[in-house]
Symmetry: C2
Subunit: 391 residues, 2 copies
């Protein structure tokens, strides 16, 4: 690892974009393989290749110019990544680990088998009949998930009864793009709230864990995080943290691992999803932690010692800004910054489309109500939901 | 001001480079006019023009593609900037303000005339005889300064007696590059310490001030800052802050104004220098303040409301890393980060040459001795002054 080390980042979304600032500070070269010339990260990275990450020749050529490869998303086909590793290239996280974020069935099998990690009742359902049988057994509604290809609520279905059981098979086939997609039936957990723990692991096995966050998802999209998760007993926070570290270790993750959990009304938790890249539920760390998830991801990829993940303040809140009626976000800062000189803002450089994540705001401080209120106001304003004079 | 707003930054050093991260977050385009393709900011900016900032045609062409112009340094000739303003271009800070950072004589005259700001005894000395007379009057040694062209200790001479009086005239002529350079004689202030206050002012007149820092300069180069300045009485800190705000207002500064001061052994202070750009004594703000000087500089240039300048912790220390025996700085982080997970590092992307500023480290926390010790260790390590096992 040296100044001339080049990290290739596959995928040009906001996660790649937010890696750029810590890369500048550490004087590490980042090279981007972007879906197009105008995606968020491509708008700011100096060194950009535009190409299709599912095209093996393109990925290989891109990777050949880099010392190590990492990701903005988990959609690069496993066989391409295996090919890179076979050629001796460094891929971090490696395909063996990454598959457990790409394939929900693999994840459920592994976490149940090696760690006995808490999970909702689940079963691989090869056909409609199996899914109906599963639903009859655990009770409707149930959740069906496509094993691969899902993100932001896509590839997940809530099925109210046996009559819905055909849907996931029909819709997942449409979206599978040739990959083998399986359907998993899962118990519908009528959770009290969702939680997330972000851990970062380096190739040498060092790992750090950020404080557990409470997260709010709507329509499968992260809307808000509160850190630390209010009212979470220390012992349970420690157990969740240990679970995150154990999963990272078991899967030999390199870089960020996000473990999303559901907390039942009785207080117990089950693992919902894994992600192996900087994660929306960790965006608060840019302003709220001593070392951001983006810097720690780069440090892990470079096998540098990881930075302190602790909170800098009592509370830190992140609220996502989704595309609304406001098309020129930067101009709207006139109001937001005048109202709140402490507000932190991160825009993703994406065109505004309804419902699309286009940025986030962060607040921190001693009083949770104040911190939460300020962040929510700013986000709602930037989404065009309120105008001046309203609260 | 909108997403499509383009800020042109003239000068490709570390100050421009450190503007890039907040520009990404605010989704504002930065365009760079760089001295060469490999200077620190040119290595990371996406949109780079290489050209000579003293060439009027080049600066005009560059500026024509931007909505507003700002600076990494104060060396762009005033006549070129006046030309841009005459054409209706936004230049922030404007040439009328900037001249007071470019021309030390103008600065002394203005601050004395309009603000009665505390200054060392000083006099414009048109020739050796005048300088000798000044020295005889205030007592030797004295300081001589070239009115223009000085930076990092260049253009400043300590004269021990009348026999040295020829030196500034001979040496400043060599370095004047055709500009009219005058020599100022100044009382040699045998200061107890140096201080700095960073203020930021927007075109609409809003201004914020960062806490006053104690700064350590060696051979004319900033080596270390401690914020807040230890032992500075609140009343005096408030007076210094007011002085900074008054100067910014009087000169109609837009963006960062750094006021460097010398504190005499009796506790009183005098203004030493002004700078109108993000300043070395404000680098601590990236990690130590609620809004960094770089973000607030951009906000001012865009006439957006300014962000909270307060410290996030009790103490924040910055120590510069100067080029030493270590040529591959990033590799040295292995030791530094392993020793101190809380250490913050910013490298400038410059080749290492002895004595050249190549980066800085920042620490923050509750205990000043601890904070200071950690920062100094890391900087010394990165300069090759100590190796593992030493403290």
């Amino acid at each position: 690892m040296s100044r001339s080390t080049t990290i290739g980042v596959i995928g040009g979304g906001q996660l790649a974009r937010m890696m750029y600032a810590p890369a500048i500070a550490l004087d590490v070269n980042l090279r981007l393989l972007a879906e197009g010339p105008d995606v968020g990260a491509a708008r700011v990275f100096k060194d950009v290749t535009v190409g299709d990450y599912t095209d093996e020749a393109i990925v290989r050529e891109f990777a050949a110019g880099c010392d190590v490869i990492t990701f903005d998303h988990e959609h690069v086909p496993t066989r391409i990544l295996r090919g890179l590793v076979d050629e001796g290239l460094l891929v971090r996280p490696g395909p063996e680990a990454l598959e457990h974020a790409q394939d929900k069935l693999l994840m459920r099998e592994r976490l149940t088998r090696t760690l006995d990690a808490p999970a909702p009742a689940w079963r691989r359902c090869p056909d409609e009949a199996a899914l109906r049988a599963f639903g009859d057994e655990v009770g409707w509604p149930i959740i069906a998930k496509a094993s691969r290809g899902g993100y932001d609520g896509h590839g997940v279905w809530k099925l109210d009864g046996p009559q819905d059981a055909a849907k996931p098979f029909a819709e997942s086939l449409d979206a599978s793009a040739g990959e083998t997609v399986q359907i998993i039936g899962e118990e519908f957990v009528d959770f009290a709230r969702e939680l997330s723990v972000i851990v970062v692991r380096s190739p040498s096995g060092q790992a750090v864990a950020y404080p557990v966050s409470e997260t709010v998802q709507r329509d499968g999209v992260c809307r808000e995080t509160i850190t630390p998760a209010p009212g979470l007993p220390d012992e349970q926070a420690a157990a969740i943290t240990k679970l995150g570290l154990d999963i990272a270790d078991d899967l030999r993750v390199v870089g960020v691992l996000a473990v999303e959990l559901m907390q039942r009304t009785d207080g117990s938790v089950v693992v919902n999803e894994l992600a192996m890249r900087p994660h929306n539920t960790g965006h608060w760390t840019i302003d709220g932690a001593r070392t951001s998830q983006f810097e720690n991801h780069l440090r892990a990829v470079l096998d540098l010692p990881l930075g302190d993940p602790r909170l800098r303040d009592d509370w830190c809140v992140m609220v996502n800004v989704l595309g609304g009626t406001v098309t020129d976000l930067t101009s709207e800062l006139l109001h937001c910054f005048a109202r709140d000189p402490r507000l932190r803002v991160e825009f993703y450089g994406k065109g505004v489309r309804p419902g699309r994540k286009v940025g986030h705001v962060v607040t921190y401080g001693e009083n949770l109500d104040d911190v939460l209120g300020r962040a929510r106001h700013a986000a709602r304003y930037l989404m065009g939901e309120i105008r001046e004079g309203q609260s």
